[in-house]
């Protein structure tokens, strides 16, 4: 390098204000998310009960976790719920958005109707649907009251299909937001694309599938983050609707974590379960997140 006068400002002080402004983010990322996670993983190797204690027992908690039938049920439920809710949220959300994007009348009204459940908490959603799906009072009871005695619709009391009962409520609550995201994405597409497709005589569905959807990649990514984080965390809805029942048929991992940490007063077991959840999240998310949000766009 050539001669220098007054010394180059140190790397630390470059963009100093930006760094100061980012302190909350950095602290949250490091102390809460990273630190809290490390703390959790660390204590998952102990036999902490009610209070965290440093009494290491190796992988015992994990062995017990993977031998627990309830954990297996929870994992299986999460898988079913996750896959279906991802597919249905995206498909239904997109279809609704596409319908609203047809230059229809009363678009605002329809949009508000589809979106309002999102304003309600999962607890509230769970309560409403618990009631609607109650076999005595709810839909089944009403249909039977109309004279169709053999009608059966009791997803919340049937271990085989209970997870679908939860899915119905989850979709009711969540698809409105997805629709909004998709609608915003559709509105962001250049009108000329539609004109071109029309002139080329491409059928509408083909235009959507092969042209529009690929163009909406960023929307799909934001949507995926929102849906997927909701799936991993699903807890309140299950508690409000079924408390994991009947039996353990609608248990989910987050509830296992909560129950073992606080109800069973076995922090070690709860931490082991949350570590497994984190691990799966990390395996799936981190490489993707880093590609998506990490190295990108320089000038």
């Amino acid at each position: 390098m050539t001669t220098r006068q007054n010394g180059r400002p140190s790397q630390l002080f470059r963009n100093l204000n930006a760094k100061i402004a980012s302190i909350p983010m950095i602290l949250t990322a490091l102390v809460i998310f990273l630190g809290g996670t490390a703390w959790t993983v660390f204590y998952s190797f102990t036999n902490s009960k009610l209070l965290p204690r440093l009494n290491f027992i190796g992988l015992d908690q994990y062995e017990r976790l993977w031998a627990a039938p309830r954990w297996m049920v929870a994992i299986e439920n999460l898988a079913i719920y996750g896959v279906l809710s991802l597919i249905f949220s995206l498909v239904v959300g997109f279809l609704l958005a596409a319908l609203l994007d047809q230059k229809i009348r009363f678009e605002d009204t329809f949009r508000t109707i589809f979106l309002y459940p999102f304003a309600l908490s999962f607890i509230v959603t769970g309560l409403i649907w618990q009631w609607l799906l109650n076999p005595d009072f709810g839909i089944q009871g009403v249909v039977r009251g109309l004279g169709w005695e053999s009608f059966e619709f009791d997803p919340l009391y049937n271990a085989e299909i209970v997870i679908y009962g939860i899915l119905i409520a989850a979709l009711w609550q969540g698809t409105g937001l997805i629709m909004c995201l998709m609608l915003a994405g559709l509105r962001g597409i250049d009108e000329d694309i539609w004109k071109a497709a029309r002139v080329d005589g491409i059928p509408m569905w083909k235009t959507y599938v092969f042209i529009i959807i690929p163009m909406m990649r960023p929307v799909f990514i934001t949507t995926l983050v929102i849906i997927a984080s909701g799936i991993v965390r699903v807890y309140d809805l299950v508690v409000a609707q079924t408390s994991g029942g009947p039996g353990i048929a609608s248990e989910v991992p987050a509830k296992y974590v909560y129950d073992y940490m606080f109800h069973a007063q076995n922090l070690g077991q709860g931490f082991a379960a949350s570590t497994m959840m984190l691990l799966s999240v990390i395996i799936v998310i981190v490489p993707w997140a880093y590609l998506e949000f990490g190295r990108r766009r320089h000038v």
């Binding site: 204000n17 319908l99 229809i104 309560l127 009251g145 009711w172 940490m261 922090l267 990390i282």
Partner: protein
Amino acid sequence: MSDPAALNVAASGFEAVAKDVSDPRGAKPRRVLSRRNIFLYGTLILIAVYYLLPLYVMFVTSLKGMPEIRLGNIFSPPVEITFEPWVKAWATACTGLNCDGLSRGFWNSVRITIPSVVLSIAVASVNGYALANWRFKGADIFFTILIVGAFIPYQVMIYPIVIILREIGLYGSLWGLVIVHSIFGMPILTLLFRNYFTSVPEELFKAARVDGAGFWAIYFKIMLPMALPIFVVAIILQVTGIWNDFLFGVIYTKPESYPMTVQLNNIVNSVQGVKEYNVNMAATILTGLVPLIVYFASGRLFVRGIAAGAVKG
């Protein structure tokens, strides 16, 4: 559109119809009841019913007396309208020894929600702005951690946060709860703001720098006034999330500042013999009212904001 003559419901006027079909001329005939429209609106109305049904049932039930609920059909309108359940839910429903219904928690919820929404959005918008326009070394790594943090179940973080809040002496205080809400709102909000500010033309930012504006001047004078739509989205998401929160409200505060949802949980879960569905439903609607109003009031801005925060990026 195979046979225009057959189904023509005359939106285009008599002349157009009278002309020879094989020789089109003038305005193209349009039909209000085209197959496409029937399908389109039919589907929309059907789905709207599915979405509205629970609200309808909630509302109708909250206006019925218990005997009517026990006998009747949940979809039928109330025979005798009573506002008793609403009064009870708001003012007299009991939890333990306290019989003042939801009213007790309402102002607490307001007191929690306002500072939490303000702080979380302030922090996240500055973060997003710094990430979009003042990239510094390592920022991406922190941001990635933040996004991954969005996937961590809340329950996992309860104990570490209890410990941290205890250490900084904020445990049990309103500000402790406000910080917790800001932390958990940060990933998604930061993502939204970052995407939004990234979509603002970079030259604007450069022009401001040449004009001598620094980090904060650009934020307050250039970026902030342009960011209304995304602020609407952030406010909606946060008001909804924080108002509806139960877990943090109950764990990180004291009973005298419990939010409304705690009362809701108490009312709904303290069963005094029979479940009072009408009171539960009234309480449920009352609790959800604030976010609902925010939704209806924001209307179109929400989609616009979402468009700005989610589409680009």
